[in-house]
């Protein structure tokens, strides 16, 4: 468990995530948007991709590495790249 968290930290480097219930989340140091629809958003955090699943997802703001996502967030999933 601790190892996997350590790996995530190393993989995402300085990326950070803030969650406000399941209605809003802010992702810092996001590299780019990999995939985007109302049901899911995939963000690239360097060596990891973050897949946010939910309903009515909206990119409230996307600038200067800070991504603000609103909507009904159901789950977060990390995927290793390569």
């Amino acid at each position: 468990m601790f190892n996997s968290l350590k790996n995530i930290k190393e993989s995402t480097e300085s990326a950070g995530i803030e969650l406000f219930g399941n209605k809003r989340m802010i992702v810092f140091d996001c590299q780019c948007v990999v995939d985007y629809s109302e049901e899911y958003i995939v963000l690239n955090l360097g060596k990891l991709n973050l897949k946010i699943k939910g309903d009515g997802l909206v990119l409230s703001s996307f600038s200067f590495g800070q991504t603000d996502i609103t909507g009904d967030i159901v789950s977060l999933e990390f995927e290793r790249i390569g």
């Binding site: 985007y36 109302e38 990119l59």
Partner: protein, 387 residues
């Protein structure tokens, strides 16, 4: 705050279709184009950006294969641009701003609050003289000075507070409650009859009763004496007090000329008008000499009176003509005068007989009234005592 800034600076709402939305968003980000509230429904992307950034949006759009559609400019700048040639609208908005600013700085209503019951009209007039009136500028009212002036003008004023709430001036007043004058019981007095009559009841509170029931008394007869005798034969003086009821016979006469020059109403004329603050704007000519009544209907919003009223002035124009009264008209006029007098003079008396007799003598109608009643004929008369 951000929303307000965006509204002031202006922003653009647009949709982008086809191509790769993710690539479009990433390219916008890498080119420093700020996007917000990006919604992707699978077919098209709806987003917002600043007016400045929108000029550079073609590059990311072309490189991601997206087509920009439904561009709508929003915010203050676009609002002004949309209406910049509509001078009437601008003028109206400008006038509205000035009118609101003017009205907000004026007094619309004056409310006088007093538990002791004051003459509201007199105080309203007095306040107007001191500058607190409808339409007065709030900034010109020196509350302390007004309070000081009012205290100086009205000697019966115990306390006054002028408060301005919005456009309403509330004046709280407390007046001196006048105490009932205490009866001077030290001066020795007699009770004498103020008119002729037959005594029916004697109620002596202080002093020595000088008459009994059934006695005829003339005006000035001593009824209750203020001089008494002690057991040792010496005399003492007191302030006689009491009530003496007697049957009295009273007569009164009222006369009226049956032929005289008088003013006859030639009809009723109503003039409507509008009152803004204290300024009256009548929609017609008002002859002040014949004005009979004024009625106001103030516009009200919830509990606040607006500084606007509709008024109606009823006037009765008259002309001088030779008037001849019939005997009935003369009788009614005289009767009304006598009844009015009776109500005032005999309000505490018990009238048991009332007779009227009228006749016309030398063009005059004379109505004689005979009133037989039981009334209090006691009146105090000071006793002259040599020191």
């Amino acid at each position: 705050m951000i929303q307000l800034l965006r509204l002031l600076k202006g922003y653009i709402s647009f949709t982008a279709e086809g191509g790769f939305p993710e690539r479009f968003i990433n390219l916008c980000n890498s080119n420093g184009i700020v996007l917000w509230d990006v919604q992707n429904d699978g077919v098209k992307v709806k987003a917002f950006t600043t007016t400045k950034d929108f000029k550079r949006i073609n590059f990311p759009a072309e490189n991601s294969g997206m087509e920009i559609k439904d561009v709508t400019e929003k915010g203050l700048k676009s609002f002004i641009n949309r209406y910049k040639y509509r001078f009437g609208l601008c003028l109206g908005a400008l006038i509205a701003v000035f009118v609101i600013a003017f009205l907000s700085g004026s007094i619309w209503e004056i409310e006088i609050v007093s538990e002791s019951g004051v003459n509201v009209e007199a105080f309203t007039e007095s306040l107007a003289e001191s500058g607190v009136k409808k339409g007065a500028r709030k900034s010109k009212i020196d509350i302390l000075k007004v309070q000081e002036e009012m205290m100086y003008k009205h000697s019966d004023l115990l306390w006054i507070s002028v408060n301005i709430f919005g456009s309403k001036a509330q004046v709280e007043i407390t007046t001196v409650t006048h105490k009932k004058e205490s009866t001077d019981m030290k001066t020795p007095t007699n009770i004498v009859a103020k008119k002729d009559g037959v005594v029916t009841l004697v109620k002596g509170y202080y002093g020595v009763n000088a008459v009994k029931e059934g006695v005829n008394v003339a005006e000035g007869t001593l009824l209750i004496s203020g001089v008494g005798k002690n057991a040792d034969g010496s005399e003492y003086f007191t302030h006689a007090k009491g009530e003496v009821y007697a049957k009295t016979e009273n007569e009164a006469t009222q006369a009226v000329n049956r032929n005289f020059k008088g003013f006859i109403s030639t009809g009723n004329k109503s003039v409507y008008g509008v009152e803004v603050f204290s300024l009256k704007i009548p929609f017609g000519r008002i002859n002040d000499e014949t004005v009979n009544s004024e009625a106001y209907t103030h516009l009200k919003s919830k509990s606040t009176y607006l500084p606007l009223a509709i008024f109606r002035v009823d006037s009765y124009p008259v002309k001088e003509t030779e008037v001849t009264l019939t005997e009935n008209q003369s009788m009614l006029y005289c009767l009304s005068q006598l009844v009015e007098m009776k109500r005032g003079e005999y309000k505490d008396a018990e009238i048991y007989e009332e007779l009227y007799f009228g006749e016309t003598v030398d063009g005059k109608y004379i109505l004689n009234q005979a009133l037989n009643c039981v009334e209090n004929i006691a009146v105090e008369q000071p006793i002259m005592v040599e020191n």
